[in-house]
Symmetry: C2
Subunit: 375 residues, 2 copies
Amino acid sequence: MSVSLSITATEGAARAGFLRTRKGDIRTPAFMPVGTAATVKAMYTDQVRSTGADILLGNTYHLMLRPGAERVAGLGGLHKFMNWPHPILTDSGGFQVMSLAQLRQMSEEGVAFQSHIDGSKHMLTPERSMEIQNLLGSDIVMVLDECTPHPASLDEARTSMELSMRWAERSKKHHETLADHGALFGIVQGSVYQDLRLKSVAALEAIGFDGYAVGGLAVGEGQEVMFRVLDETVPAMTEVAPRYLMGVGKPDDLVGAVARGIDMFDCVLPTRSGRTGQAFTRYGAINIRNARHADDPRPLDEACDCPASRDYSRAYLHHLVKANEILGSMLMTWHNLHYYQTLMSDMRDAIAEGRFADFQAQFAEDQARGDIAVR
Amino acid sequence: MSVSLSITATEGAARAGFLRTRKGDIRTPAFMPVGTAATVKAMYTDQVRSTGADILLGNTYHLMLRPGAERVAGLGGLHKFMNWPHPILTDSGGFQVMSLAQLRQMSEEGVAFQSHIDGSKHMLTPERSMEIQNLLGSDIVMVLDECTPHPASLDEARTSMELSMRWAERSKKHHETLADHGALFGIVQGSVYQDLRLKSVAALEAIGFDGYAVGGLAVGEGQEVMFRVLDETVPAMTEVAPRYLMGVGKPDDLVGAVARGIDMFDCVLPTRSGRTGQAFTRYGAINIRNARHADDPRPLDEACDCPASRDYSRAYLHHLVKANEILGSMLMTWHNLHYYQTLMSDMRDAIAEGRFADFQAQFAEDQARGDIAVR
């Protein structure tokens, strides 16, 4: 089963529309909350939906180790398991194997590793990654790739990218043999080198995928370099398929990447930050743990109509987070996801109405203003 | 502001009705979820309400230390602070000072202690406890007492009970001087000694309170002794005021105590157990961490219509709890509170319909059956 992208409006390189999947439509540009271990941490799925999320991301690495892909399949698949009947994209597991697993051993075949949970031994190959994502019931499957570390020399980046392209081909070949398979996205690598990025785009398009991701960014290179890589890479990517910038990012990263033609994003930032007390607001991020919020009766963000903002004061959220109360993580995460989805919705509207340039300017001005403490 | 109890049905010593408070009616027998630090842990207040809770309990000890009673008052009181517009009962702080605080020093005046959070020094007296509960906006205030430890000799228990009675009198005297004060409940002490319990009942009724609690139970004496103390104490308590058994308990404790004429309960068990993986069901408690649940597609409790049971499998809850996911605590707590409130509702209905004896027998039979693993 493939996906199909309908672009309904453009402004410069920015574009808005929707991606049709077997589980429903995804409004683009889209932000995918991360549901690592079959849960968007501290959130009920109906809340995630109510913030405006059309699709979640699931992590193959975590799910293959616990509870196990075969187990999830036996229980009816990931959608049923976690009570999310809408689209799910799964990553390939490659990124987390390199960042979380122990005793990794890379080869042409794949990567052998030990679980960070119980030390059990596993082998992740392009074929196995396709099988796992298929067992989970993923609607959008990602090829197995190597996320090139940063910094990488030109030679290192080339070697890594070329391995990823061979794995992309093996991924596609195996994916097509699987029953009821979802759509399959390729992943552009090549580090910060334009030549490699363009070769990677060409290699993937020669294989042919339902969508194309830009990987290997947001790994420490900084926003300026990331935007340069997008400026050099995105124009070479086909217009008719969705473009997904993996693991990005901060609100201003999203706005800048949408301006450069990206359609899809995922990031742990709104959920992870929520659990540590950082809230995203119209006037920039605030740390609710700061003592200046202890007596502040105002909501987190006066421009936000989510319950975490509407029904609770900063003083209460400050108290909950300082006291390590679970409800603090719940409310802060809810607010942050609401903020992110509202940002995406605002961008879609601005593109549709031909005022995305104005939106960008106002967004930058608001964020630069910063939060003003209560007098 | 007082409260008034209307008994609408009785069966033996068991009684059902409602308690009118300034913030609304409480159906009795009632279970009060514990909202220690201005939050019922891992629950949204609208969920707590939807399980059938008419009233919450707040802990004076925790709230006086963090965020502080004056701060809560400045932010509009505890109801507004935590977004719970319904009745709140606060304890006196005495029990937790003895179990949590450091460097305690008891005297006739009160108890001096250091905060377990930051080591700061505090003094809790009957007068200060009344002030704090008033600052919080409590609808039902508890007198400061000493929860007599178990076991206690007859002499120790008498000395402790008599101190609590002098504090009860000081509590009432000071409470009545405070503006907009809630109702005030006395607390019967006397350990396991009938003579002391009856003297305590008489002493409190001579002072005169809006309701009467039985304290100093569920502290290790066991259910048999607890029920004997209730059998010896409750008949001496006035019928026209509510009777509250503090800190109790397991489901079968609640059923046995309702049969002995108790109207109100509070306990951390459903919330605390929820966070550690214990679920209460029609057929007894189960530990969802047990490996036998790992592939079980059944709900937690087929007799329960709460979302945690209805929308999720035991396998999923097992996975969440094993992975220490916040959603595991959220769903398990929700289920347990739903179970507890449904139990109270079932008891109220059974008393109203004159079939409480049958209900007790069926409840005991179901609980004794135990959970049967999936085949």
